[in-house]
Symmetry: C2
Subunit: 481 residues, 2 copies
């Protein structure tokens, strides 16, 4: 038997299969609308279609493409469907996909400036552009003491912010000696679970994070924040970090950042605008940035509502040295002249992992393809559709808004109460015609309709509403029998 001397796929095969895959993707966006948004599979169902043993010899690539259609696609929840209204959007776009493709092709590793100068500099540049497009404070620009970096997620961003705050509050002692029990962090009881997760990871612990009560609109109560800080100070504890939210996950509530900032003298204020932040690309929604002048860090996710492939979180700090002091370790094998001179940014020191993909490429493509005008247009459209849906809820005698709509998120329930609403959501989702998800607001089981998929139009929102109304009617009739 002759052994092969080269098992790589040839460039010719790649050209052929690559073009098939491009067509496959374009086709996908054409047919996805007609398929159930959530697949009808049971746990373990996909694995039974896969061979138990790993491949010992190579297989033709055409078989893999066939298997994607046969095995994988029946188990996909279609985030790109125009009928996807659950959780948050994770919308993408063709320019972004093209950026991901080029980044994958180049296969560069941007851990330090030298390992691909263009990857670092494009990232810095695009994050400056983004700050300008959203009207963020100048202190987040790279020509200030601060700057921006792409993180994978808002979870990692809040962890990095908390670590920088921890180091600053302890003048470097926490990295050297470990965490002592005296640091206290604050966020609202509606904040994303990632804040609590960050506090656990950073050694702060649940006992030292205060989940500040929220008001009727589920925004942080500043009076309670002030009281809690005062109580903690009296106990000899050190308030060091506040994470405020612009657009909570459950109900899109917006914490009163200007008032919170006033309490944060010497305390690191992080603002998480994961989904909502995108809206600032429209001048008429730029009010969501109010108070950012008083924040030490800020993040939002183009991978949620700005047509950019996951992962892409834009994270800004007003004091880059605080971040680097918390996260930099420089072994000999990573020393470069450019680092030593301070002339170049080494983004490895701005994040948890060492390695980094070339993620700014897709964001560059998105910003240039759409321009501020195109992005603002689509964001306004999504908000307008959510507003229309809200009107329907308001006007229907059997449904009620749990809170007034904010931006693209409608929180509603059926008037027959929690278990009726829960059952309604389940039966609507089971049709496969849409996917919405739930939360609890106060005691209310709440359906969340979030409008943000790339291709969602009025007809999708209209169909969704009709389905809720019809299913509720059926359910009422069954119940009253």
């Amino acid at each position: 038997m002759t052994r092969k001397t080269n098992y790589h796929m040839s460039a010719e095969e790649f050209r052929r299969f690559g073009k098939e895959v491009i067509d496959w993707i374009a086709d996908y966006y054409e047919w996805v609308e007609s398929k159930p948004v959530v697949p009808d599979v049971q746990p373990g169902g996909i694995r039974t279609m896969l061979p138990v043993d790993p491949p010992l010899t190579g297989e033709p690539f055409s078989e893999m493409l066939d298997d994607v259609d046969r095995v994988i696609m029946p188990g996909i929840t279609h985030w790109q469907s125009p009928n996807f209204f659950a959780y948050f959007p994770s919308n993408t776009s063709f320019p972004s996909i093209l950026g991901e493709i080029m980044a994958a092709g180049m296969g560069v590793q941007g851990m330090v400036w030298k390992t691909s100068p263009a990857a670092t500099e494009l990232e810095t540049h695009v994050l400056d552009w983004m700050a300008s497009l959203l009207g963020l404070p100048d202190k987040f620009l790279s020509n200030s003491e601060g700057g921006g970096v792409i993180q994978d997620t808002a979870s990692s961003a809040v962890l990095c912010a908390m670590l920088a705050a921890r180091e600053k509050a302890t003048s470097g002692v926490s990295n050297r000696q470990g965490v002592s029990g005296s640091l206290v962090a604050y966020t609202s009881d509606q904040a994303h679970s990632s804040v609590q997760k960050a506090a656990r990871i950073a050694g702060i612990g649940d006992a030292n994070i205060r989940l500040v009560e929220t008001d009727d609109g589920f925004a942080m109560r500043v009076d309670r924040l002030a009281e809690l800080m005062a109580e903690d100070r009296e106990k000899g504890l050190t308030p060091f970090f506040v994470s405020a939210t612009v657009g909570t996950t459950s109900s899109m509530a917006i914490d009163p950042i200007p008032e919170i900032a006033k309490l944060c003298d010497g305390i690191w204020l992080h603002v998480d605008a994961a989904m909502a932040g995108t809206a600032a690309v429209c001048e008429d929604y730029r009010w969501i940035n109010a108070g950012l002048d008083g924040a030490q860090s800020y993040c939002f996710n183009p991978h949620k509502w700005m047509f950019t492939n996951f992962d892409c979180n834009c994270f800004y700090v007003s004091d880059r040295h605080a971040l680097i002091d918390a996260l930099s370790i420089l072994p000999e094998y990573l020393k470069t002249r450019e680092h030593g001179s301070g002339a170049a940014i080494d983004y490895r020191d701005w994040q948890i992992p060492l390695g980094r993909r070339f993620r700014s490429l897709k964001l560059w493509f998105v910003l240039r393809h759409y321009g501020a005008e195109g992005l603002a247009h689509h964001v306004r459209e999504h908000i307008r559709l959510a507003e229309t849906f809200e009107t329907w809820v308001r006007e229907h005698p059997d449904f009620n808004l749990v809170v007034p709509r904010k931006l693209n998120t409608v929180c509603f329930a059926h008037s027959q109460g929690n278990s009726f609403t829960e059952q309604l959501l389940e039966s609507v989702n089971q049709t496969g015609k849409l996917f919405a998800s739930h939360t609890k607001l106060g005691e209310a089981f709440t359906i969340r309709m979030v409008v943000g998929a790339r291709d969602t139009e009025l007809r999708h929102v209209q169909n969704a509403w009709n389905l809720f109304v019809n299913k509720a009617g059926e359910q009422s009739r069954r119940t009253s029998k």
Copy 2:
């Protein structure tokens, strides 16, 4: 002025540009060999070619493609060049790129099972395959108490391992109350900087991590580990975590895992085989797995030496509940029936971030395209080339091996000492004909030649050696004048 109603790229344009991009990538792998590996640019040089202001209106996509060639490529360090011998390989392959492309196209978010069952199940399945291909212990398989997950990097993997160990050692107290100062972690003075970074992040601190001395081969000294543990116990401290390395970054040293494991009764042993782990796909190199039976977690990076796009770290634990206990927070809006029943894995609880890309797709394609046979073939080839290079070093009177070669990594220096060697490396790298990087081993400034790029063949290694020899000759003649 009429406003556009849709700013998206059309499917037709995507098909056209997508196919251009596929050809661009195939072309790239044809011309990359002939270009300088490291670009000749100064910090800030790329940014001067980019417009200061962000785009307000959209631009044609063809201009972006032109700008990639005009602005970006002159600033790229070519990790995929066959003349790239620096740091570690970050090799990719056409099947992997195709997997990335499909994942980008689908745009699914695999944070929990329900948000794309196939993404979760394929990941579990492929990680089981991988464990089998590498001969890892059964306790890392998904049908045991343990299991595998894809992390972005080995840095995140060691952090997750340390957090799980921290929780376990404190019976959950550290998540609830924060970290106390009594926990101590151990790794060698040759371990990757990510271990120390993890200890800082996790609130353990530099003062509570022992960098155990290494032997002449730069492997951890077990006698010193035992002594340090005993001293710490005497001080009332609690040893809770050891990170051992199979293939250190500097010199590919392999810590004596079996002996270390014996000391780790009740202490979490993590094994980081970031680059070297791949070699176990060859049965003749499977000895690198010795002692893994005694480890609680293990990771290696297919994105280093297994033809898989960054990011892709395979992380295994023998007790998945320890990991989940450390990292799970379950807010209402993420509750699903499948989670509640325990029937499905929600990988969000196995990692730092919440969101996740569909990374198993590319790994599935790589394993199926190459099969174990193809992967083993190329790994053996890389090792053979490194061995050849080692022989040349050994036989040349002016060069010496700083340590014997292990696997694909040759550490060598010029006999005229540190500053001569440092200058030699710089002048060789400045030719652009190759890129190698350095480390310090003991007092020796050391050049590292790591063979692992997809297309590296004998002629590239031969050219590299000739260049070192010739440049050293020139430098000697200049010095002796």
